[in-house]
Amino acid sequence: MSSREVRSIGVAGWGRTLGAAVISLIYFFPVLFIILAAFKTRADVLAWPIKFVFTPTLSNFVSVFFRVAVEGGQAEATGFGLYFFNSLFIGGSSVLLALIIGTSAAYGFSRFPLRGNDTYLFMILTTRMMPPIIAIIPIFVLFNIFGLSGTYVGIIALYTAFNLPFSIWMVKSFFDDLDRDIEDAARMDGSSEWRVFRKVCLPQIYAGLAATFVFAIILTWNEFVFALLLTGTQTRTVPVQIVRAIGGAMGADWGLLSALETLFIIPVVLVTFALQNQLLRGVTFGTIRR
């Protein structure tokens, strides 16, 4: 990692660089469109052809937090701050929980295989083979019976379960790729099994854990169906709020929606950016042998 070669554009070739830039722009365009729209007035949003030069306004962002519900009435808080916190809190804690439980399970599956180990692993994977929506009715009923509907505990538990299978699989593959001799060396050096796990194995897969964290947080952050059905007014997450904002007395307020979405993607961009090195190493983990 220390001596990464940085090629100049000239070396890569101008044609290729231009091609890459155009393709990137095509893929990035929807996001760019949303971000621009968030700063446009109602008239500018709907203008055709699309306006790239306009006088920016922050009114959409103000509307995200305060709205005038009735014409000429008092501006009210929309509760967006709470929903944003809910998304962060529910997403963060369920992914962390899934990562902690998943890492322990993965270490067990990798290092202390049971009879029928592969069968268990396969069964864990099958829970993610069907679309989660199939299980929504029993889950909905269960949540009502146990009073979990609309609670943090309920939705966090559900998201944790939702993230566990692929956390286990991903982290297990990182453990599988480690050199077992290093663990044996630690045992020879007097380490308990806990110390082997905590001081020797875990530090070697930090990059992999970061990658798993990012993938899980993105999935959870975007989750909509369960959030719609199982959260209440106090535990509502941002995706649900975005959909609620589509309807309105005067039709869809695209500027407001765009502002919501712009705010919504910021955390994901920040996390991905902060962990980009780990992410890259995590994705390429195990492709390079000693």
Binding site: I182, D184, R187, M188, S192
Partner: protein, 369 residues
């Protein structure tokens, strides 16, 4: 007394993996200050034996005793045995210094005492300049020295090395061989080294245990192993170029001036040579295998007595010497001659075995001695 206190003893140690008998009833004693090499082809059970001593594998049966105490049920961390691994197994996320400090965590030493120990080891192994580096920034030789350092930093009861030099180039290998030997001599602890490289074993070991198919074929000093290989396997395994093993028939034995001479029929010719007295126990007509090391052959005039005639098939120069391949009746004979010997391809020559360098193995392949 102190000998009985910290030696390694294996008694009938056996390891079975499902249907595979990896180690078959091995008996071995390693005394204090003694270096024993487990030598054998890959898959012979030498590494498994080492790992059982270490506590990384459980013996299926038999007793493993360290310092007179049966340790079969003791986990690796409680055995106080130091081991270096073939691929070094340094902790990748720790610096050299932290790697060296790692084994000391259990001893609850003060910070100063730990620093003192590390400094000591770093001095002995010449690691002072690389203490702050991480394993991936080290060369092969440096990794090896750190691995050795990590194993000697604490005071273990014995030392185990798994293929310690296999990853080094020839020059480094010679250097490390000397360095490890010096360190081991100073430590005066029982040491077991696993290797498939006989030069390594012959130079480093006080005694060598040759293994095959999970069994120990012979345990002996490097000299005895070379001079008296107990069977054809050991004879063929030890020594380069490989010993010539030629099927023959014992024709007759006779006593001559207090020495025993035997006459053999080999490759359609007859010759007689001085042999061990024990050869007389074999009945005339017995099938035997004659073992002659390539350096035990000498050229002789074709019309002299007791020579075997063959033609030169291939000549491999080896610097000061050359390896000459002879053929007689489809049997390849390897013979090392001085590079000054005047031979050419296709030439018919007579060779004979230098006196007292002939090994006779009986029909079962055991050395007659």
């Amino acid at each position: 007394m102190s000998q009985a206190q910290s030696d390694i003893r294996l008694v009938g140690v056996t390891k079975r993996f499902q249907n595979l008998l990896a180690v078959d009833s091995v008996d071995l004693t390693v005394d204090v200050g003694e270096v024993v090499c487990l030598l054998g082809p890959s898959g012979c059970g030498k590494t498994t034996t080492l790992r059982m001593i270490a506590g990384l594998e459980n013996a299926t049966s038999g007793d493993i005793l360290i310092a007179g105490r049966r340790v079969n049920e003791l986990p690796a961390r409680a055995r106080n045995v130091a081991m270096t691994f073939q691929f070094y197994a340094l902790y990748p996320s720790l610096t050299v210094e932290e790697n060296l400090a790692y084994p000391l965590h259990a001893d609850r030493l003060s910070r100063a005492a730990i620093a003192e120990r590390i400094a000591q080891v770093a001095r002995v192994l010449d690691l002072e300049t690389i203490l702050k580096r991480r394993p991936h920034q080290l060369g092969e030789g440096e990794k090896q020295r750190v691995a050795v350092g990590r194993s000697i930093v604490r005071q273990p009861t014995c030392f185990l090395f798994d293929e310690p030099l296999s990853r080094l180039d020839i020059q480094l290998r010679q250097q490390m061989r000397t360095q490890i030997k010096e360190v081991l001599e100073r430590l005066d602890k029982p040491t077991v080294i696993v290797t498939h490289d006989q030069i390594e074993a012959l130079t480093m070991a006080d005694r060598i245990a040759v293994m095959r198919d999970g069994r120990i074929e012979q345990v002996a000093t490097p000299h005895d192993l070379f001079a008296y290989p107990t069977n054809v396997f050991v004879a063929g395994f030890i020594g380069t170029p490989q010993m010539n093993l030629v099927p023959a028939t014992l024709e007759a034995t006779a006593e001559e001036e207090g020495a025993t001479r035997a006459r053999f029929a080999v490759l359609g010719e007859q010759f007689s040579a001085p042999v061990e007295a024990a050869v007389r126990r074999l009945a005339p007509g017995a099938k035997v295998t004659l073992g002659v090391r390539p350096r035990s052959f000498e050229l002789a005039p074709p019309d002299a007595a007791d020579v075997v005639h063959a033609s030169i098939d291939l000549i491999e120069p080896m610097g000061a010497e050359m390896l000459v391949h002879l053929v007689r009746q489809g049997q390849d004979l390897r013979c090392v001659l001085a590079h000054t010997a005047r031979v050419r391809l296709g030439q018919e020559v007579g060779v004979r075995c230098k006196p007292n360098q002939l090994h006779v193995f009986d029909e079962a392949g055991s050395l007659v001695r």
